[in-house]
């Protein structure tokens, strides 16, 4: 069974590189470059996991996370926060808001795969 990861991220470069890592590990990867579109795709595609950036134009990652968790259709999908900025108590904040994990860019490809493997399918 093919497992799908949805990346919500505005940086094309990050999408491409993440896609390369995950596809090499056997995942199917979908991408959205903003929060609104990400929520739309999450609802439609029902991915097994979402990788979510924080700093995005339009609605940011925190807001996107809140909406994903509020919608019964998407609330069960594990979300990994994926950020290149320092956020005060970011790890605590994201778990409190219902994210499965918190991850910093630049990432170590093996760590990313490990983390995705760990949370994927762990439906909330």
């Amino acid at each position: 069974m093919e497992r799908t990861v949805l990346i919500i991220e505005d940086e094309k470069l990050i999408i491409v590189s993440t896609q390369m890592v995950l596809e090499a590990a056997g995942f199917r990867v979908e991408a959205a470059d903003n929060g609104e579109e990400g929520i739309e795709k999450a609802r439609k595609l029902r991915p097994d996991l979402v990788l979510l950036d924080i700093m995005m134009p339009g609605i940011d990652g925190w807001e996107t996370l809140t909406r994903l968790k509020r919608d019964p259709d998407t609330s069960g999908i594990p979300v990994i926060i994926f950020t290149a900025r320092e956020h005060a108590r970011g790890h605590q904040k994201s778990t409190e808001m219902g994210a499965a994990d918190y991850f910093r860019k630049p990432f170590e490809p093996d760590e990313l795969i490990e983390l995705v493997e760990k949370h994927i399918g762990q439906r909330v």
Binding site: A24, A84, A88, P106, E108
Partner: protein
């Protein structure tokens, strides 16, 4: 001395006056010849040396007196007339001659007018045959004189004390003026905790009035607000502290936040005994906001740098793994190098961001459980190439505590380990050894970075953790760096309620270590209540 040995010729028809005066002068050690009439006086004056003639002309023959006075004048001797004054004396001794009226004045004055200076008490010889009563009155007199003397001196002292008090008061009011007008809030409590001083800025900041608060202890006061409560808590907390400082977030009426930096210091007197507590309050709102902007800016810069770096790191890693096709040996070496350099760059960016978080309260707060061995291994990777260039053996020993989990601020600990490894490699000469190890110790996990490099003189062991401090040594100066590395390490480790231990001697390498709380996944379930999936996942692995 001259006075004592002075020779007096005393001529007085009245035997009682004669006797009294003679005794008075003799007691002072003078030689005295006393006679009853001028004729006898004249023969005495011609017969022996006389310095001063004391004459009562009353009852003497007028021409005899004139003859005597002429001879005294010719001889150049002093003359004192008794019992006559003013106009009556003028024809005898001329204007300005010494005249003493009768009854004669008190002995002291008498002696002065006779030209006898008072001799020191101890030195005064007791003339033989002097009456006891006479000595007593003399001593009484001396005492009285002494008292007068003391009185005068006392008056002088009181006057200078008044001057002193005046200038002290001026100084005090000048000081109070300064304290009142100082930009910081000042609060001083004495050894028993009573408020002694509260300047207007502190009144404003604490919502207190000095005329009410002074004399009371902090706990006596009914007022309660964020700052006051924080001061109370800090003062109560640790009786053994010497100085502590903290920035307190204060809500203002207009919903605006203010930041007050409080510095609390124990004041000791010159004997080293506790004299009170000095609390300084500084409004650092402006600095704090600037600082926040700076942090925000650094965070954005870091974000902008990390995004392309993610691409470089990921692509080079994937290439090295052969995901994009096989590489020949040279290509593989180049790709490895790209990857390592990207890790180094990442470390530099982390350091930059760290700059912005120097005084942040957030360090060490974002706790998560993670594998400490994995972290130290990863943290050492960026320095493998630099180490290899110097032929330094950089070893990560994870064998002593395999699979050990800690609960800590992951990215902060990674920065700390990296800073220690970076230093170790930097200060170890070519061909040396650097070892990073994780061990069990006292139920906790110890992370240690050791090298056999130049080492650190023990007298610098404390100072190396200060901001911007670098050991000034011609051998190490060329290493460069910001002087912030160990300061970061210390702040990070202390934020985890732990401390950095340094063992080193000059020329004998150095070892830096710190302890972290280990994380027991099974028992610490309540701390992970918000992330049950994470716990389950960890256990399953």
């Amino acid at each position: 001395m001259v006075d004592e040995s002075k020779a007096y010729l005393l001529i007085d028809a009245a035997p009682d006056w004669r006797e009294r005066l003679a005794r008075l002068l003799e007691r002072e050690g003078c030689r005295v010849e006393a006679v009853g009439d001028v004729a006898a006086g004249l023969s005495s004056l011609r017969g022996a040396h006389v310095d001063c003639v004391v004459l009562d002309p009353n009852g003497q023959a007028a021409d005899g007196v004139r003859t005597l006075l002429r001879e005294v004048e010719e001889l150049g001797r002093d003359v004192v007339l008794l019992g006559v004054e003013g106009a009556a004396a003028e024809p005898l001794v001329g204007v300005g001659g010494v005249c003493i009226p009768k009854p004669l004045p008190r002995p002291r004055e008498m002696l002065q007018r006779l030209g006898v200076r008072s001799a020191p008490v101890a030195a005064a010889p007791t003339p033989p045959g002097s009456a006891v009563g006479g000595t007593d009155s003399k001593e009484l007199h001396l005492l009285r004189e002494r008292c007068k003397d003391l009185e005068a001196r006392l008056a002088e002292q009181v006057e200078s004390f008044d001057d002193l008090r005046e200038s002290f008061n001026q100084e005090l009011s000048r000081m109070m003026n300064i304290v009142s007008n100082i930009m910081d809030g000042i609060l001083f409590t004495d050894a028993v905790g009573s408020i002694r001083l509260l300047n207007p800025v502190a009144e404003e900041m604490l919502g207190l009035r000095a005329f009410v608060a002074v004399g009371q202890t902090l706990d006596d006061l009914e007022e309660s607000n964020e700052l006051l409560d924080e001061i109370r808590a800090t003062c109560d907390q640790r009786p053994d502290w010497r100085e502590t400082s903290k920035t307190v977030e204060v809500h203002r009426d207009d919903q605006d936040l203010a930041y007050i930096k409080m510095r609390i210091g124990r004041v000791v007197d010159f004997r080293g005994e506790f004299a009170g507590t000095l609390i300084q309050l500084e409004d650092v709102t402006a600095e704090y906001k600037t600082d926040q902007l700076k942090n925000q800016y650094l965070s954005i810069v870091a974000h902008e740098l990390r995004t392309p770096l993610t691409g470089i790191k990921t692509f080079s890693t994937m290439m090295a793994k052969g995901v994009l096709g096989g590489l020949n040996e040279r290509q593989a070496r180049v790709v490895d190098s790209i990857r390592e350099q990207s890790l180094r760059l990442e470390h530099q960016i982390d350091k930059l961001v760290n700059l912005g978080h120097l005084d942040s309260n957030d360090v060490g707060q974002d706790l998560e459980p993670f594998d400490i061995n994995e972290l130290v291994t990863q943290a050492s990777v960026p320095f493998q190439q630099v180490a290899a260039e110097k032929r330094i053996t950089l070893v990560v020993d994870t064998g002593a505590a395999p699979g050990a989990m800690v609960e800590a601020d992951r990215s902060a600990i990674r920065r700390a380990v990296q800073a220690l490894v970076e230093n170790a490699v930097k200060f170890t000469p070519d061909g040396g050894h650097v070892e990073v190890a994780v061990r069990q110790r006292d139920g906790q996990l110890e992370v240690a970075v050791s090298d056999d490099g130049v080492g650190i003189d023990p007298r610098y062991h404390r100072r190396i953790f200060e901001k911007f401090f670098q050991v000034e040594d011609p051998l190490t100066r060329h290493h460069g760096g910001s002087g912030l590395g160990l300061f970061f390490v210390k702040s990070i480790v202390e934020a985890h309620r732990s401390e950095v231990t340094v063992r080193s001697e000059l020329g004998r390498g150095a070892s830096f270590s710190f302890l972290l709380r280990s994380h027991e996944a099974e028992t610490a379930d309540e701390t992970l209540a918000t992330t049950p999936q994470t716990t389950a996942g960890t256990e399953d692995d």
